[in-house]
Amino acid sequence: METKKKKGIVLDHISKIYQDPKTKKEFYAVNDVSLNIEPGEFVTLLGPSGCGKTTTLRMIAGFESPDIGEIYLGEEKINEKTPDKRDTAMMFQNYALFPHMNVFDNVAYGLKLRGFKKDEIREKVFAILDLVELKGMENRMTNQLSGGQQQRVALARALVVQPSVLLFDEPLSNLDANLRVQMRTEIRRIQQEVGSTAVYVTHDQSEAMSISDKIVVMNKGVIAQMGTPTEIYYRPASEFVASFIGEANYLRGTLISLDGENGVIEVLGRQIEAFCHQDKNPGDDAALMLRPESVTLGDEGALPARVVLSCFMGAYQNYHVMVGDNLIKITDYNPKGKKIYAVGDQAWLRFNPSDGTIL
């Protein structure tokens, strides 16, 4: 299936203000969000509930109107357009399948509205059902399908109209864990196949990591960080991002110097050179962020550590150690044949400073 066109999305300083129904106070649900999504790109809006990610998505779809700012689809301003006039198709959290129609009619709905001829509709629907591996299910009613199948019908229904933009509102949150992993791979595969631009909302960081070209981490209505999954994971811009995506350890100290992206932090009397974002000044309180799998224990190393928890997990040995006042969690993969430390042991923390980020 080829796409008719690829269009990017631009959010130009978008804000959405809501009123708290109880306190009557107004607050920013989305606060000055600017985004430039390239045609064909898969972008995930990631954040805790209430961070404004779904509101942003619904503004792109047209269900909500922004209070400040302009939304562009390709070159066109779309603020004033109603959802039915926008070239977007959304997959809803609860699928929102039409319960009074069978699979075929659900998928054909958008095509009928676009005035396609009967045989064209048949052809397109069958092609898309093939793509989402639902061949032979056309005549089933939607309540005769499993969760994963319903999900694929919803995907097919959105895909078949070949929208410039596909919108996903936590489409996998109602599925069980195994199916979730399987479906996110499929969504990614199909999106790449049809080439539509995709905006995907989720609060599940591993989903965001595995599926996206670019992740936009949101918190309290603002963008906390934007970048590729690798950037977000290893070079988080703040402790919020670091802790929201994966597990993070912090060795707290003081920033000594900063030269470009190279910072030097002093932790427990040791100076460590690592990557640092340029929003800090020497003398500031800072912390060296390290991922649990980037750290190991040894008989010699950078910093002394006292083991407070040691637990064999099969794939890895799980340690909690105290380095000064800092609790550091360690996942030491493939522990067989390595020296295992017990609770109460003194050891040394070993890591490669380039794996860490000074925050």
């Binding site: 109107s65 209070d67 004033e80 006039k85 977007t88 958008g110 309290k220």
Partner: protein, 590 residues
Amino acid sequence: MEAKTVTPQDYRSQSKKLDRKKFWNDPILIAMIVIMVFFLTLFIVYPLVMLLSEALRSSDGHFTLDTIKETLNYVTFKTAFFNTLKLGLIVGVTSTVVGMLFAYIDVYVKTKTKILAGLFNVVATMPVVSPPFVLSLSLIMLFGRTGFITKSLFGLRTSGIYGLTGLIIVQTLTFFPVCYLTFKGLLKNIDPSIEEAARDIGASRMKVFTSVTLPLMLPGIGNAFLVTFIESIADFANPMIIGGNYDTLATSIYLQITGSLNKNIASAMALFLLLLTMALFLLQKYWLERKATATLTGKAARGRILIEDKGVRIPLSILAGAVSIFVIGLYVLIPIGSLFNLWGYDYSLTFKWYEYTFASGGAKQYTDSITLALISAPITSLMSMLIAWMVVKKKFALKGYIELVSMMAMAVPGIVLGIAYIRGFVTGVFHVAELFPRGQAPFWTLQGLYGTGALVVLVFIVRSLPVGTRNGIAALRQIDKSIEEAATDLGANSGKVFTSITLPLIKDSFISGLITSFVRSITAISAVILLVNPRVNLITYQISESANKGYYGAACAAATILILIVYAAILLLQIFTKYFGTSRYIKREE
């Protein structure tokens, strides 16, 4: 999300402006709103406003309070007003008590057989399917001047049943099933463990009922009381047939109009009746209804241990069973009554009353009633679904108005609506037809409407719209908004969403609205009795005429045929929903 105070205050103006633009880009929704507002204004608000203006206007067109003053000093009015209130209060209490008794037995008492439950079921459904005044007819046939029990069995020539006593009996038996159904729902929602806790501490069963169950249900009881109160004071047909000299507001208004007495006073009296029902309705809707839902939430966690104690079970069962059998007997008396030569005098079997009902007016009364009800039913049902949809799913400026007016119509007594229509349409809208030579008023004055079946259809629609809308709203609240959003997102405009998604999803509600409005229309009398004329005849009118003339056989025969028609319609509904309904595949979302 942290609350952050926004300055300046009007930052939200852009989204408001955009929402407005999007609204104006939706011509179908706008068209629907315009049509609904126009209809509700012209056929509900306008006639009632005319009623108000008649009551406040002197004969030469000036504002005056004279009519109001005159009415307030008018003995007929004063008597009727207090009669109405007295009747309403008594019936409100008796219906609530009987309804509570039935509900308590149904939910709390272990009955040995299913017979009682079956009886309750019949008693609860009968008032829905029968014309509003058949119980009066039956009661007169048993206890009236030529009553079977009073005259034929005991040889009494008494008219004791006419008046307050008869009215209380008839209205209680007609209205208590609604209370029963309400209480049943409420009682089922009380968590048994609350009551068990009270018993466990040492409260007797009676103490539990008075100190736990009753207080929990208090708002619900108040609600049921007010609903019955409104029904009672709005009732026209029963006071007309069995009221005797006990005049209520509804009957007095009718007599003022038909007796060619003072029409302005009739308007003023109607206005007072309207204010009364309206006040009670608002009280019920905005105060008690909210309270009722606030105290009782959620379903009972598990089953209730039913009362098996013989000392409680047997007397309660006998009492409720006797009432049920009496009520059912009264209904059964209708077809029986139609088969005797002359009730009270000659009990030989005959079919002559059936021939008589067809001979007197031909079949016209039947065809008229059926045709007009058939025309109004689909319009009513569609309109109520549309209003429900706009109220639940859409946002627009006049939404509050549409919701309020369509719900308020529920509180307008039929007779008030009838007189308002006369005042509003006899001489055209705003009396403009008076400006033209007699018989030459142009179409737009709507003078031509008066005396036609079209006006009767409009009355039918207005009378059934609130019930349909309420059911539609309940059905729509069950449908997740994302289903409609998905359709919009795929490119469907408002009209398309309604016809291809919403309406099919609430098809059950639509079909039942169809039948409900058909049944309500064909059994209606109070709202249309003033609009009946040689061109438009209705069965209900014929039945009440026959009853008033003492032709009980004829009244019974016509009522029997009417009940059969209604039953046929309901049967049709059941078949329809079974084969075309949506409940088979819609998984209701919580």
